[in-house]
């Protein structure tokens, strides 16, 4: 299931670190809502939680960056961009091929009936 459009409600069961992990795995743009109220929209390509001051790295929607944002400056992350990993190009291709095969087979079926 895609997370596209998701605005997480942080709680004791859904921590900011959990949301950051999900955003890191998400193949679309997100909007990082910072503690100071500002927002940065872009693609989060990295997160490092194994350092003294954990951070995410992202390119903004214009492709500028990478910007490093410490976890401590992040209030929430909204999954605002299209999830590029949920495209249906392969399924569409399969459906089209099946239809072509069926069309090719149709006259033969008539002939043999």
């Amino acid at each position: 299931m895609s997370l596209e459009g998701w605005v997480p409600n942080l709680s004791e069961y859904l921590t900011l670190a959990d949301v950051i992990d999900q955003a890191f795995d998400y193949r679309g743009n997100t909007t990082v809502v910072k503690v100071d109220g500002t927002e940065v929209e872009g693609y989060i390509f990295n997160r490092n939680k194994d350092v003294l001051e954990p951070y995410v790295q992202m390119f903004d929607v214009a492709g500028n960056g990478p910007f490093k944002i410490p976890y401590s400056e992040i209030k929430n992350i909204k999954f605002t961009g299209k999830d590029t990993a949920t495209g249906n190009s392969w399924l569409a291709w399969l459906e089209r091929k099946e239809k072509e095969k069926a069309e090719k087979a149709a006259p033969l079926d008539k002939g043999t009936a």
Partner: protein, 339 residues
């Protein structure tokens, strides 16, 4: 078969690493200068990114810095589609001048055009590694577009005519027909390619097709069927021990640092297939990745069914130089063609 000069370059490099006592060393750099591609293949999980990421490219300087940092003798340029990289000619030219063996991994759609434009010059250091997942029907289905097999064959013929080294790279998924794959090998040899590279597909979590990746047992069955009694005219551009591993005749553990990956995000942790973060330098990648969390023995479920070349071919190469048995097995398989 890999040319002797290339074998020697790799062999002397590996021996140097061993003499220096390096426990972990890279063998092939996977250099991804862009993620943009002109195909959307069913089994590919590399290209699903927002537009601003797909527009980005590494500079030639960034690419060369990565090559210098890791010091490998072989550079593989996948992507994305590397022929869409705006500086591909310049990058390859510099790498060849530095005597790096370059495998340019392409779907070949743009190859004929680039050859006609004179972007590349034939060299023993440059090999076009053409993505071919089988004969016409199988390949066009794998890349989700009709006509691509014919375009690739045309490009292979043209590249060979112009004196370039040409190899093929083939990824196999569940449902592959062993007899058809063998026919495909015959056809590639008839075309005159120098050698073929094989690998089972990896189950990328972001790939459109999540159903047809091979599990371990099925991989061994399939590759045993394909590679048992190999035809004498078949030539493979990879370690015979890796092929034996795919057939279940060798038992190897993954070497995730063997083919490190560098792209617009940095050094990918831990390997070409898994994307669990990025290191800022090659040294950071090698020193601060928890390697013990990867590979089959680690219990990591993402690694359990993986038998992909980027993790296991470095193990096979290391085996060749690590033991007399490995060396003997490699020599026998190379000389006799038997796997």
């Amino acid at each position: 078969m890999v040319p002797v000069s290339q074998m020697w370059a790799v062999a002397s490099y590996v021996l140097r690493q061993k003499l220096r006592g390096r426990k972990r060393y890279p063998l092939v750099l996977m250099l991804e200068p862009l993620f943009r591609c002109n195909l959307t293949c069913a089994g590919c999980g590399k290209i699903q990114y927002p537009a601003q990421i797909l527009r980005k490219e590494l500079s030639v300087e960034e690419c060369l810095r990565a090559v210098d940092e890791c010091g490998v003798p072989v550079v593989s340029i996948p992507g994305g589609e590397p022929l869409m990289y705006t500086q591909i000619g310049e990058l390859v030219d510099v790498l060849v001048k530095r005597k790096k063996y370059v495998y340019l991994c392409t779907n070949a759609i743009l190859l004929k055009e680039k050859l006609e434009e004179g972007v590349f010059t034939p060299s023993k250091y440059l090999s076009f590694s053409i993505h071919m997942d089988g004969l016409r029907e199988e390949h066009d289905e794998a890349v989700c577009r009709d006509g691509i097999y014919d375009e690739a064959v045309e490009a292979i013929t043209e590249a060979l005519r112009r004196g370039f080294r040409v190899t093929t790279n083939t990824t196999l998924f569940d449902g592959a027909n062993a007899a058809r794959v063998r026919e495909f090998f015959d056809e590639m040899m008839r075309l005159g390619v120098e050698g073929m590279m094989l690998s089972p597909g990896y189950n990328y979590s972001k790939a459109p097709d999540q159903e047809h990746f091979l599990r371990r047992t099925r991989t061994r069955e399939l590759f045993s069927k394909i590679l048992s009694n190999p035809q004498k005219h078949w030539k493979f551009n990879q370690s015979p021990l890796f092929l034996q591993f795919l057939m279940g005749k060798q038992d190897y553990e993954c070497t995730p640092w063997g083919n490190p990956t560098f792209n617009i995000f940095g050094w990918q942790r831990p390997c070409y297939l898994l994307q669990e973060g990025y290191a800022e330098s090659f040294q950071d990648l090698m020193e601060n990745t928890r390697w013990e969390q990867y590979g089959r023995k680690s219990g990591n479920e993402k690694c359990q069914d993986c038998m992909v070349h980027c993790g296991y071919e470095p193990t096979a190469v290391d085996h060749t130089f690590n033991s007399w048995k490995g060396f003997k097995d490699t020599v026998v398989a190379t000389l006799t063609g038997k796997l």
